[in-house]
Symmetry: C2
């Protein structure tokens, strides 16, 4: 019989569709063969030599004369860099000027690179860049909330193949974030405990959904994963804010991230995925009930009308099976 | 400058990305050429003659000896028809047995049909079937919430081409629904007015986002539409429950639905779309602040990491432009 599982973090119900369930191996076949890209493409705006095709450079990590990671302003930003933040309330039409920050993090000079294939040190550098730009984005007084994300593959919504992440600072707080903060607050008020710390400790104990445990992080499939291989990377030390991460923790995060993405790459034939860091703003570093984390959602199934109409998801993979598969998956 | 708009119904912020905006005409090109299906396919389980390939028939509308619309149990149901509803609370793992109802509504014997091309009377019959099955689903004491939806095209998540809708009755209330009810309740407590009636009257007055107005319905693009051509069909008479619809209203809904889907079909080259009816349960028919409606979301753009990470959407079409385009689009 199918079962419904409640995700206490998102408050979403997920249908674990045992009747439709596939074996973890079967999700590989759902991924169309992806051609291996060339290491350099003359027409790619992110490839070395084409730096003039990007807009203003905001940051770079160099390696000798060359760059290793570059941060540039997005050429077609979702929010404008320049402009005043104004609320325009007008009856039911609530409008805010679309100002903030939208940057592209070009992760490597190599067109055919991605975090699953990078040297561990390079992933560590990337996390360092995430952190720097996250802090910088929050310095803008117009910015209320910052999202760091990575779209891998066309099916995950990216139009440019060259490996890159994005960071967007928006002038409002998304209701999704507000709702989750509130759920975490209620849990804290009920139990005196951080919901995320609680889940982390329980999952560590159960072990059955754990993919990787290291000194500072636990990588696992959530009990109510919204889709097959939906993975959470939780920091063990309670902290509401991503940029509060310490150097030894960042190195450990790099290890967890590279491992899970390598397992996707080699175990699931390089599926499309979305990666996102969910964090409170730096000012909230003392918050007792929020807990930052990283989430990766492979695009191995498709949301449809039911998901749109209910906000619920149908997961055709059993979380415990997904975890077992990823534990055993090769990393190279 | 881009602008952020708040959807008061969903409480979601949408970025209207003026810098990335396309003309309404440009979304046509995003749709790959779809081959016209044949009127009959020997291997299609929903084509006439293959009735034995479907599971238990629950309802049919006949036309002479043949059927016009058939309702069957879903062969691979998301929730099981038979079984007891049980809550299994166990620490942070909240589980409910996956029982309820999952039916497929086969909309026509013709494999190449769809509501955009149907006779108006046939669409009216389809709405009648939606209504009957909605009421029937709610008779099941295990069912808390019912979603009627239609996935059109592979990009919208359907695996079977033969025209069909689905109805799922789940044993829990989705948090998305709870949150929206609460937002509507707060609006009512603040203003003494139904939020949906308020929006409907304002939009009628503005006119700029209206696609079609008839005696009983207003079809319009929401002020904070989450994607280009995202369309709402609102009943003018306040009612929380879809099945409370009167016969003359149902006929009028058929007209609105056929018109908007025809405009998609002819004006946007038959895009993939998801359609959903959002309604309270029959018991809540006297509710003053909930208001049922129908929503259609064409799949002309792709959600990615930003949407996943924030719950916000980036709309590259200006709602007023989308509405103007649809007003002018042909219906045949």
């Amino acid at each position: 019989m199918p079962e419904l599982r409640l995700n206490l973090v998102t408050r979403e119900w997920v249908i674990i569709a045992t009747e439709r369930a596939k074996r973890p191996e079967d999700f590989k076949a759902a991924v169309p063969e992806r051609p291996v890209p060339p290491p350099y493409l003359a027409e790619c705006p992110f490839c070395p030599g084409n730096e003039g095709k990007t807009t203003e450079e905001r940051f770079r990590i160099s390696e000798g004369d060359a760059w290793k990671i570059r941060v540039v302003a997005n050429k077609y930003p979702a929010v404008a860099t320049v402009g005043e933040k104004r609320w325009i309330p007008d009856g039911f039409r609530r409008t805010v000027t679309g100002v903030g920050l939208h940057e592209v993090i070009i992760e490597s000079p190599a067109h055919n690179m991605n975090p699953a294939l990078m040297e561990l040190g390079h992933v560590n550098d990337l996390i360092g860049v995430y952190r720097k730009r996250f802090v910088e984005a929050h310095r803008d007084p117009r910015v209320e909330h910052v999202i760091i994300f990575r779209n891998h593959g066309e099916g995950a919504g990216t139009s440019l193949e060259h490996p890159h992440s994005q960071i967007i600072g928006v002038p409002v707080v998304p209701v999704q974030f507000r709702d989750r903060v509130q759920a975490a607050m209620h849990f804290f008020d009920n139990t005196g405990e951080c919901l995320f710390c609680h889940i982390l400790n329980k999952e560590k104990g159960y072990g059955v959904r754990v993919v990787l445990e290291t000194a500072h992080f636990l990588t696992f499939i959530p009990y109510a994963a919204l889709s097959p291989f939906h993975t959470w990377v939780f920091p063990k030390r309670h902290s509401a804010v991503f940029s509060d991460i310490r150097d030894e923790e960042a190195a450990d995060l790099a290890m967890n991230l590279k491992t899970v993405l390598s397992k996707f790459y080699w175990g699931l034939d390089n599926p499309d995925y979305n990666l996102v860091i969910r964090s409170s703003r730096p000012e909230d570093v003392k918050n007792e009930y929020c807990h930052w984390y990283l989430s990766v959602v492979p695009r191995v199934t498709k949301a449809a009308g039911f998901e749109l109409g209910s906000g619920m998801f149908i997961n055709t993979g059993l979380p415990e099976e997904s975890a077992r598969f990823l534990r055993d998956a090769p990393i190279a």
